[in-house]
Amino acid sequence: MSNQKKRTFQIEAFKHRVVVDPKYAEKTWKILEHAIHEIYNHNASGLSFEELYRNAYNMVLHKFGDKLYYGLVATMTAHLKEISKSIEAAQGGSFLEELNRKWTDHNKALQMIRDILMYMDRTFVPTTHKTTVHDLGLNLWKEHVVHSVNIQTRLLNTLLDLILRERTGEVINRGLMRNIINMLMDLGSSVYQEDFEKPFLDVSSDFYRVESQQFIECCDCGDYLKKAERRLNEEIERVSHYLDAKSESKITEVVEKEMIANHMQRLVHMENSGLVKMLLDDKYEDLGRMYNLFRRVDNGLSTLKEVMTSHLRDTGKQLVTDPERLKDPVEFVQRLLDEKDKYDKIIHLAFNNDKSFQNALNSSFEYFMNLNARSPEFISLFVDDKLRKGLKGVSEEDVEIVLDKVMMLFRYLQEKDVFEKYYKQHLAKRLLSGKTVSDDAERSLVVKLKTECGYQFTSKLEGMFSDMKTSVDTMQGFYASQGADLGDGPTLTVQVLTTGHWPTQPCPPCNLPSELLPICEKFRSYYLGTHTGRRLTWQTNMGTADIKATFGKGQKHELNVSTYQMCVIMLFNNTDQLTYKEIEQATEIPALDLKRCLQSLACVKGKNILRKEPMSKDIGENDVILFNEKFSSKFYKVKIGTVVAQKESEPEKQETRQRVEEDRKPQIEAAIVRIMKSRKVLDHNNIITEVTKQLQSRFLPNPVEIKKRIESLIERDFLERDNVDRKLYRYLA
């Protein structure tokens, strides 16, 4: 300020010269040290937070952070050592409590200390890369308390002992446990894992190994599973109450391994209580439990599935090959349906609708149903029975349910074309005898078959239905136009069947009674008048007749009989007795049918409007048939001889089988030609595979048959063998 020169003004910082007392740091530290002691001695209330904070702040500011930090370490360490001793001194049950108490105290103290030393925490600590006060406090606790020689093992053992006691049914102090475990978790996940979790898992493993061994010796499967489930739930609960959530999957794994996985085979196969028995007895709860438990272990469910499948296949196989059962087809199929229902229910209620179990069920059914070659026939007979009488009075929804179930069985059939043949036969008989319970049910089933197998399958069936309907219209037309002329003669109802639709066998015509001839002729000319170019043939093996008959004492009855029977009976209008030969000549009915017919008229109790001499059961060539004057019946209307579908006799069965085989040949050839046309060249094995694939919705073709068809096609120049590779075939355009 003495010079006259012009100067710029500078403003400088105010330098307050602080005299740093060398003993300053020591003094300040002592204050803080004292404060820490007080804090640990629960005397914190007398301290001034502001003052202490300032002191700490100053120390750091004046570059005494180091001294502060290490002083803190020393002080805290000293305290912790003492604490450690006091915990060690605790006896028995109070060990944990003491530990817990001291831990809580330590945390409180630590909090206060950290607050006081916050400046250091924020500035000195990061720059010098030291641990923060909080973490320091934890580490020191860990080092000097938890890992102290006398405490570490004792702590672990106490904890494990408490858990063991709880497992054996004692009630323990869960809150205390939680706190201690939380302490370990706070100290770091590796502390928790090393100091507690690993040993815990090992000990649990041993525990459950022993326990499961005990149980399995003395319990049956259901009980054992209950126990296992209980233990599992206990452990889960334990974790939720006082362990780290991450331990849950680990401990459950231990239980699953020891109690379930190790004993899986023994449990499943346990005699009189294992899976098979549970299945037999419909033990839904036990099965559900088993499913849930086994789901948790590797291969658990696949083991269950395997055992269930083999049991099912065995039972199924027995069912279909048991000769007793095979006597009644309806019973047979009902039993199959029941079995299916049973397992559906089990899978639904106990196995959680598990798809893979459903698949196992399906494949088993497919396996054993096709073991019996008559399955298709029997299913058709079952349906026949239901549609004739079984579904009488049943509600529409219930009908649908039954039909849907039948369709499920149908799907398992490999030889669907065999079923088709029988079904057609049975349907024809039902329609023609008017014996179907519900038209709607019939049609509903046809629709289901169409959805399943395609139009081809059902087009002829639908033809049958429409023929029936058309016939009704035709009859109306006939009587409308001719009614007046007919007068007193017999009433005629005709069903006109289109040949392609119906499974009719060629029927040699028999001689109809003379009383009928006029009206039959009238119908013929009426029909052909409106439908020129068609040919009508009477199917005398399929009709029925209602006849009013008067017997010896004047009893009148109305007889419902087949056409053949009618022809025979009408002969007795003119005479009281005839020989077999005479009847045969007069009616020209084929011998086998005639014999059956006579048997039904003369040999069945209650229906013997004829009698025969001799009175044997079989019809002999030289028998004499007489009108039975003495016939009596409670009922006015008597039904004799039905055209009910029956289980086929051996020769009939052979015949049907043969026809099915014959029908298959062109189908196989068509498939081969189709495939070769598109592929041009293909080797033998591939042809077999492709053909099988194409035809599998109808039947399973025999590879030998396919080979024969190929050779036949070679003969007819549709295919040729390759010159070089004999396994290769070429399509000849």
């Binding site: 070679i714 003969e715 004999r726």
Partner: protein, 250 residues
Amino acid sequence: MNKLGRGHRDKVHQFVAITGASEDVALKALKASEWHLEGAFDVFYSQLQLRSKTDNRRLEELYNRYRDPYADMITADGITYLCNDLMVDPQDIVMLVLSWHMKAATMCEYSKQEFISGLQSLGIDSLEKFRDRIPYMRNELKDEHKFREIYNFSFAWAKEKGQKSLALDTAIGMWQLLFDERKWPLIEHWCQFLQVRHNKAISRDTWSQLLEFVRNVDPQLSNYDSEGAWPYLIDEFVEYLLENCIVQRG
């Protein structure tokens, strides 16, 4: 010729220069001998022996010697006469080979065309030459390739005109003849099997596949492949052999 390599073209030129044959013939001969000139010459000259000029007039004379008096062809009687002249049994298999050369349509008769062209291809225009050729024809059966051709030829030749399949008896006769020549240990069993189990005519496919079976599968059936797309008749034959323990399956 354009497709040949330089070396091959040269060989063809050389061949033509030396033998005076056409390029086509040269190509054929060289190919047959795998492009060895020496070998090609051998082939050429041996064929040359066959294809030596035959005198057409002499052929006519020969034909007329055997032809049927009422029809323009050689029938069974004529053939018997021929066999006599050749000092060969009419059932001798060499007659089959001869028919093959003639590409005869059916057995027991030769048309004029067949007779003449057949003899031409064999280089025969006299009975002497004819007799000389017999051993050569016999030898042809030893060649696998030719045997197969003759075998397959005999199906069409032996069956009835207008039929698709060969009658069983005829087939058995032919098989016995053929497999007497080229030995097959199972021939008797095969014939027995057919008579007992099959009793129907034989299809062409079965006929030709049988030879393959004979050539590829050993009599102990050790390398028989059931997935081998053999005709079902052969599969049945194998079953028959196993069932009757004629062969044990290892």
